[in-house]
Amino acid sequence: MIENILNELHPLEIKLLKENITSADKETCISSENQGPANWLQLKQLIEITPQVKTTVHLTELGKKYLAGTPEKKVIDCIKERHSIKITDIDFLDAEEKKDAIKFLKSYDIIEIQAGGILVLNESTNLEKIEALQNLIKDADKSILFDEVDELKKSLVNERYKERGKTRNIFDLTKETTYLIKLTEEGKKVWEVVQKKDFSTDEITQLTPEMLKDGSWRTKHFREFSFDIKPRRILIGRPHPYAEFINEVRAKLVSMGFCETRGGIVETEFWNLDALYMPQSHPARDVHGVYFLKSPAYAKTIKEEEKFINNVSKVHKNGGETGSKGWGYEFDSQQTKRLILRSQGTVMSARALAEHPDPPGKYFTIARCFRPDAVDSTHAPDFLQLDGIVVSESINFRGLLGLLKLFASELACAKEVKFTPSYFPFTEPSASLYAKHPTLGWVELGGAGIFRPEVTAPLGVKVPVIAWGLGLDRMAMMALKINDIRDFFSRDLETMRYVNT
């Protein structure tokens, strides 16, 4: 038993046992550099460690000023000299000090305030406290140990150290921890052996290139290691778990045959709203708010949109050739150029359709979106949305539900899903997708639907298009089984390092 322990002793442990502990029974005080090996020995139950905190009392700048007398003392001395004094005649203290001093003296019944603000000493006055404080200040000028002063002084230190604001403290405390170590019964046995044993020559702790070169390791003995000791913590390079989740989502969509698209954060109302059949002035645009750009406020031209703008404006006005009656208003072709921040990932679906109107097509985007909601625990200033479409001759509502179900299980690892009717100005029928979270219950993962003909036709699409938008934060919560997304987005490095998914 002891043999094993001896084999595993680290040179620093041996040094501590041999050099620092001089007696088997007496306690030894060690400095902080020996704390490491002391902890290891404690883990092996060879020693017991008792930390001891030594608190020293010093004077602050203010304390030094009071060496010549605290405000209370000055007031008392003054009253003693003149028998009484009017509050307003105290001119040797500043207003704050005066207030405090009188309050203090009054609260200990040392003085009495008579009519006209006249201060007199109380007959039964006990000046012990005032004197004690003055003495304490004198002592503390040379530093004293907190534990060595009497109870009254201890309470005075506490009063003048903790309870006042930083600038009005008289005392300052510094704490120093030292450690007392004591051998256990087992430790005593080990200590006895260590005292006699010679460790110096034949033990190898670290194999070196030299030993390998000259072969000297052959004649030596390898010290055995203990595995009970926790290794040192190291810091490593690490991907952000949210970015990792996003990458997994991206990889899964690509594996399902979807093509990724990407676009700018600054958009026009045309793409973000008008092309999605959200009327320029109508409550239907109130589905969510948008951020407008200060400068420039408008796109220079609508060149890129020229091909579509006529169709879009007609569809808003009277449905164009879609068979729809439209929103019934005159389209404003200046407002359509208004620059805004992308408010929904669906804008990328509109752009993808404009670029690739022919079936078959499957597109997705992971887009940062911005909405003027007050920022709180559930609303981030900007957030990622996963949006996508399927352009296909044969796609229908059942296909949409099938795809949503697949997403819920593949991307969010959901076992149970349900669908509810929903409203988006650009899809009909529209549905919301819910999945069951292990602790939070039904969680809405996103919305979807079949694009209205008023959206697809103006962009030159002649077949049905299903569209969906999923909240990535919600999906991450589902997939990684976390209850509070906020840990994920902590900005404190140490907190981030503990996030373990």
Binding site: C259, S324, K325, P381, N396, G402, T420, P425, P453
Partner: protein, 582 residues
């Protein structure tokens, strides 16, 4: 989205049956509603569909979830109703044309208005006027005790001080001008009449004032109380069709509560989109033709004609069938039916979304990421391999969070309507994002080596939108001995692996034949001066002789401003798509 509060008892009395909360939650899905809160009898409901003003009330929700087979027969607009003689008129005065040109109205008779019914009526009036009517600007509603009114009623424009009456909540006569100045409702809605020299007024043939639309009713006829059985409602506004729709909704609501609706004719001296004489409740005469195959194709179902008609009936549609084609007339209180897809959705909702059998997607296409994605992933792996922790930040920030920025503050894109100053600009560099992490991480174990690959928006007057979204790579180190050369080595190796086919020059092997100095772009730094960096310790990073980023040791003043307590070195590579994608 709109929120309403309704009484559960009231809803149950309209449905003629009691509901459990769980049943209610399920039923609310069919009106795209979500039960947010229950508080005794009070139900707080969020409604999704911003194009369905008819649902912003108990009656509207009850109509939809009742699942009544003969719902269409309960419509306020029926053929026999339409043939009745019209005995009540609203006469519109020419002067109102440029102020608030449209008015609608109807009489509801034989109603016994309960306290709950009255409360709901007032809430509906407010929701329609405030939400749908944009704070009364487009729509406002007045409700009166019809017994006190002598028809015809006239709707005219009068000068602000021409007429006086006692408004609700007041006990003396004041002028219209005084109402706008003194009455709480006047102050709240005065903005609507700003700039007009005359104001709208509604009075009966005896000269009794009904109201001052869109501000306030009179305290006599315009005061409705529990027990009133005959009501007159007026709806004024700026858009005729909205006025008519809201009239229809209100009339339907009162009919659903047992009232008989009496037609009212509005006579305009000027032409409107729908002629000079408009009868309310109004028949929009809109019909939609749909084939059975339209339903089947969109939904992916095989359907019986009878089933379609039955379900559409429950939604209040009037459906006739000829040659496999349905002709469908929406109920009078709905104008959101723009296209056959809207009808098909209503059918799908009645059918039950969860009764559809989801179908697997079988359209084959080849999947691809964007071109920049593999570059981003390669750079991420290299940075992580170099021991860096990845950061993900928001893009919206504020100008005073841009301390130590390496890009000019003037070129930052600002938002016109920020919710708060904290989020009012788009970042144009990632450097401040990483500095902000440092500023709150002084208690995190050192060394700190962090990086972010993310979007920033930079202004660029040469492009159509005036700015571009680009992806930057930014790295930061901070620890007591953090030095320029530490991060320079990282940049060097990163660039080396990012350009596998470029020829490196100037790599000198040392005596043992090993390259110990930089492998990559160590010679491609160009000294620069920048207020965020210590003088003499900042350089532009050149790639193919073009400056594509900056590296430097952050100036102690910047560290002080951020309350960062260790030296910091950063580099930022701008627009990695431009640098690395060929």
């Amino acid at each position: 989205m709109a929120g309403i509060t309704i009484s559960k008892k009231d809803l149950e009395s309209l449905l003629k049956k009691a509901l459990s909360i769980a049943e209610l939650e399920t039923l609310l899905h069919s009106v795209k509603g979500e039960l947010k809160e229950t508080n005794g009898d009070e139900l707080k409901i969020d409604l999704d569909d911003t194009n369905r003003p008819d649902l912003l009330c108990t009656e509207g929700i009850a109509r939809e979830i009742k699942n009544e087979k003969t719902r269409r027969n309960a419509d306020v607009d029926t053929e026999e109703h339409r043939n009745l003689k019209i005995n009540h008129q609203i006469l519109v005065d020419e002067g109102i044309k440029d102020i608030r040109p449209y008015i609608g109205g109807f009489i509801a008779k034989g109603l016994s208005l309960t306290e709950g019914g009255l409360a709901q009526l007032i809430q509906t009036q407010e929701k329609l006027a405030d939400n749908y009517g944009r704070n009364r600007k487009n729509i406002s509603i007045g409700i009166y005790n019809a017994e006190e009114i002598t028809f015809p009623v006239s709707y005219k424009a009068v000068a602000p001080e021409e007429r006086k009456f006692v408004p609700l909540e007041f006990d003396r006569e004041i002028t219209l001008k005084e109402i706008l100045e003194l009455h709480p409702k006047g102050k709240e809605y005065a903005y609507i009449l700003k700039g007009f020299s005359k104001y709208p007024l509604l009075e009966d043939s005896k000269g009794n004032v009904l109201s001052f639309p869109p501000i306030i009713n009179s305290n006599s006829v315009g005061r409705v109380e529990t027990g009133n059985s005959n009501l007159f409602c007026d709806i004024t506004g700026t858009n005729l069709e909205q006025v008519l729709l809201v009239s229809n909704i209100l009339a339907q609501n009162l009919k659903d509560r047992g009232a008989e609706i009496i037609l009212v004719e509005v006579k305009y001296p000027y032409d409107t989109k729908l002629g000079k004489n408009v009868v309310l409740p109004y028949d929009f005469k809109e019909e939609i033709k749909i084939n059975k195959t339209d339903f089947e194709k969109l939904l992916g179902l095989k359907l019986e004609t009878a089933k379609i008609i039955e379900e559409l009936d429950k939604s209040g549609y009037r459906t006739t069938l000829s040659n496999e084609q349905f002709t469908i007339k929406p109920p009078s209180y709905r104008r959101d039916i723009m296209h056959s897809v809207d009808v098909i959705e209503d059918f799908a909702i009645r059918y039950g979304y969860n009764n559809f059998e989801p179908e697997e997607l079988n359209e084959f296409t080849v999947g691809k990421t964007t071109l920049i994605e593999p570059i981003i992933q390669k750079l991420r792996k290299l940075m992580i391999g170099a021991g860096f922790e990845e950061i993900v930040s928001n893009i919206l920030t504020s100008k005073n969070q841009m301390l130590g920025n390496v890009e000019p503050l003037e070129s930052i894109i600002e938002i016109e309507n920020p919710v708060s100053d904290t989020y009012s600009v788009l970042r144009n560099s990632i450097v401040p994002s990483l500095l902000s992490v440092e500023s709150i991480s002084s208690k995190s174990v050192y060394p700190h080596k962090i990086f972010e690959i993310g979007e920033v928006v930079v202004s660029d007057s040469t492009v159509n939108y005036g700015s571009r979204t680009i992806v930057n790579l930014t790295a930061l180190i901070s620890y007591p001995e953090a030095s320029f050369s530490d991060l320079h080595s990282v940049l060097d190796i990163l660039l080396y692996y990012s350009f596998p086919d470029s020829k490196q020059s100037g790599n000198k092997k040392d005596v043992d034949g090993i390259i110990t100095k930089g492998l990559g772009y160590s010679n491609n730094l160009q000294r620069t001066e920048h207020p965020s960096f210590i003088k003499g310790r900042a350089a532009n990073i050149l790639v193919n002789n073009k400056s594509m980023g900056i590296i430097g040791e952050v100036h102690p003043q910047v560290l002080e401003d951020w309350k960062i307590r260790n030296p910091v070195v950063v580099f930022e590579l701008k627009d990695i798509e431009k640098i690395f994608v060929k």
